[in-house]
């Protein structure tokens, strides 16, 4: 097992762990962390792909993509935390189990 597949494999495992936690956990902060771990898993797969360049030099394109991905993931985390804090302030709970009775009227 070489380094590239070790990294790519760990990335896939991180992705699956994050996916599991995102679906199962109810606490909003845990969900946000889970989404970040999923993202890190994907980024790790990308970085592992970058190692496979000609003449031993890493391919820069996946690294550039990971940088962009980190920015996107940062924005999403920020918005998610703001929303979670607002929900916590309005309802006092830390889950999405807000009463499903809609309040359109």
């Amino acid at each position: 097992m070489n380094t590239v597949s070790l990294y790519a494999g760990s990335g896939i495992i991180l992705f699956s762990l994050g996916l599991h936690a995102l679906l199962i956990r109810r606490h909003l902060l845990r969900k946000i962390l889970a989404a970040n771990i999923m993202g890190s898993g994907v980024f790790m797969v990308f970085i592992a792909m970058g190692a496979r360049g000609e003449s031993g030099v890493a391919d820069p394109v996946p690294q550039a993509m990971v940088l962009t991905g980190i920015v996107v993931s940062l924005c999403f985390t920020a918005v998610a935390i703001v929303l979670a804090v607002r929900i916590n302030k309005l309802t006092g709970c830390t889950t999405l189990a807000v009463d499903e009775e809609s309040s359109i009227d």
């Binding site: 999923m38 993202g39 797969v45 999405l96 009463d99």
Partner: protein, 495 residues
């Protein structure tokens, strides 16, 4: 003069203009309405100019910063991009006009008015960038731009239900796009390119590519709310203010679907996709029936429209099993046509629902009893918009369904015809239910006066949706420029 129009890269302006205007409206909230409306007025002309530029000269794909393609980002306008740019510009313009009336200038909800314009213009710019992207990673970035703006727009109402719907939508969007991104990573590992055209030429039928394709399709299916992954849509689309609901249902869902169409027809045609196509078709069928039945049961007008969106998304996914062999072009064009006409019709329906809510004071369908007298015109406009959802001639929905049925016959998959026809019947039923309540003979007190921008723009949009079938030939010809399909639209059945 003609030279001047043809030489410009209009589609680049269609991305830069809304993004710049979004920043401007954020910095100068006092002027937001006028900056927003001017941008909205300008974009349809840009779309026309972009179409003219492509039709009258062979537009070259533009590589940003002139970097060679793995590094530079390729932007291009093929037919699909052009028609989507144009439809988005038209629907976006109408929604912007409506929003002027919906978010009045002086109101105690000052924050709502402030944030609608920057977010909506960001979303618009993101959609336009998505349509012209020719690169898988750029599609990911633009998808994220669109879904981030949508999350913020859903949360605009500020209530706890709206915030919860927004956060749930954020998690769903993130899940979908990370699955898509993992697929992109796997493809890049094998082929070291992300260009859609290049990948389509060199991709081969391997297990790894199937894994990548499944991940990408699963992510996009989640984002475009196909049954059984639609659970987030009704809440997200109904908690938002009316113009936002219209944007989400008419445009945002289509953005993910456009990416899916590109993947299926331009990146993965070399793969054996028979089984996945049938699976998507089956889910589409369930979505049509289940979405329509749920729409029939709803107590609230906006929820009814949201479930109708789920049913219409089901039709869009019939493209995948139907587009094979000689029916390829017919099914593809049917899908594109349905996407365009549904964007117009559904936007008009959500806008009219907002107006009806505003005047009748309630969103409950039962509370509309007798509303047909005082606000009969509004209910009739709502019905006109719904005609394309049902698929009555001469609406675009009718022609799209006709093309689907033709493709189903040509490929010998008759069961899809039964589903399409029963979906049509159910759609007629849930629209008729609204009309039935509205025109009950009940005396009503007077209604408040509403601004004209909340009445006439939706009417224009629903009339466009209604006669779209008659003017659809030109848009279809434009959509076929550089399309991945090139066989006759209708398959002849002669003795």
């Amino acid at each position: 003069m003609t030279e001047l129009i043809v030489q410009q890269n209009w589609f680049v302006w269609m991305t830069l203009l809304p993004l710049g205007a979004a920043v401007a409206t954020f910095l100068a909230p006092g002027q937001a309405r006028w900056i927003g409306l001017t941008t909205a007025l300008f974009l349809p002309f840009c779309a026309l100019a972009a179409i003219a530029a492509t039709v009258f000269s062979t537009a070259q794909p533009l590589t940003v910063g002139n970097w060679p393609t793995p590094l530079g980002i390729e932007l291009r306008t093929d037919g699909l991009a052009l028609v989507m740019l144009a439809v988005t510009a038209l629907v976006g313009f109408i929604i912007s006009c409506y929003a002027l009336g919906y978010f009045p200038p002086r109101q105690h909800h000052l924050s709502r008015t402030h944030y609608f314009w920057p977010l909506w213009l960001f979303l618009w710019g993101g959609c336009n960038a998505l349509f012209v992207s020719g690169d898988l990673f750029n599609l990911y970035v633009t998808l994220e731009l669109v879904s981030l703006a949508s999350v913020a727009l859903i949360a605009l109402e500020g209530g706890k239900a709206a915030l919860a719907a927004a956060l749930r939508y954020l998690f769903i969007g993130l899940l979908g796009s990370l699955a898509y991104l993992l697929g992109v990573g796997i493809l890049y590992a094998t082929y070291a390119t992300l260009d859609i055209t290049l990948l389509g030429e060199i991709i081969s039928d391997s297990r790894l590519n199937h894994a990548a394709m499944s991940l990408m399709i699963a992510g996009l299916v989640l984002k475009s709310a196909l049954f059984p992954l639609h659970f987030w849509l009704p809440q997200a689309h109904t908690m938002a203010p009316a113009p936002v609901s219209a944007v989400l249902s008419a445009l945002v869902v289509k953005a993910a679907y456009v990416v899916l169409l590109r993947l299926w027809f331009e990146v993965f045609p070399a793969l054996d996709t028979l089984a996945i196509g049938h699976l998507l078709g089956l889910l589409g069928c369930v979505a049509i029936i289940w979405g329509s039945l749920m729409a029939l049961r709803q107590e609230r007008l906006k929820l009814l429209i949201a479930y109708s969106t789920i049913a219409q998304i089901g039709y869009l996914f019939l493209v995948f099993p139907l587009a094979r062999g000689e029916a390829m072009a017919g099914a593809w064009v049917g899908g594109v046509l349905l996407m365009m006409t549904h964007a117009c019709g559904k936007a008009a329906m959500f806008l009219m629902a907002g107006t009806i809510h505003h005047t009748a004071g309630s969103d409950r369908i039962s509370r509309l009893a007798g509303a047909g007298g005082p606000i009969g015109v509004q209910v009739v406009v709502f019905t006109l918009a719904a005609a394309t959802i049902i698929g009555l001639p001469p609406s675009g929905g009718f022609f799209a369904k006709w093309l689907f049925i033709n493709a189903a016959l040509a490929t010998g998959q008759w069961w899809y015809i039964a589903i399409i026809l029963s979906g049509t019947l159910l759609a007629a039923a849930y629209i008729a239910r609204v009309l039935g309540w509205a025109f009950l003979d009940v005396k009503r007190s007077s209604y408040p006066v509403i601004p004209w921008v909340m009445k006439w723009p939706p009417l224009a949009l629903s009339v466009i949706a209604l006669v779209f079938g008659l003017i659809a030939y030109a848009p279809v010809q434009i959509a076929l420029i550089g399309a991945p399909v090139s066989v006759p639209l209708l398959v002849e059945f002669g003795p």
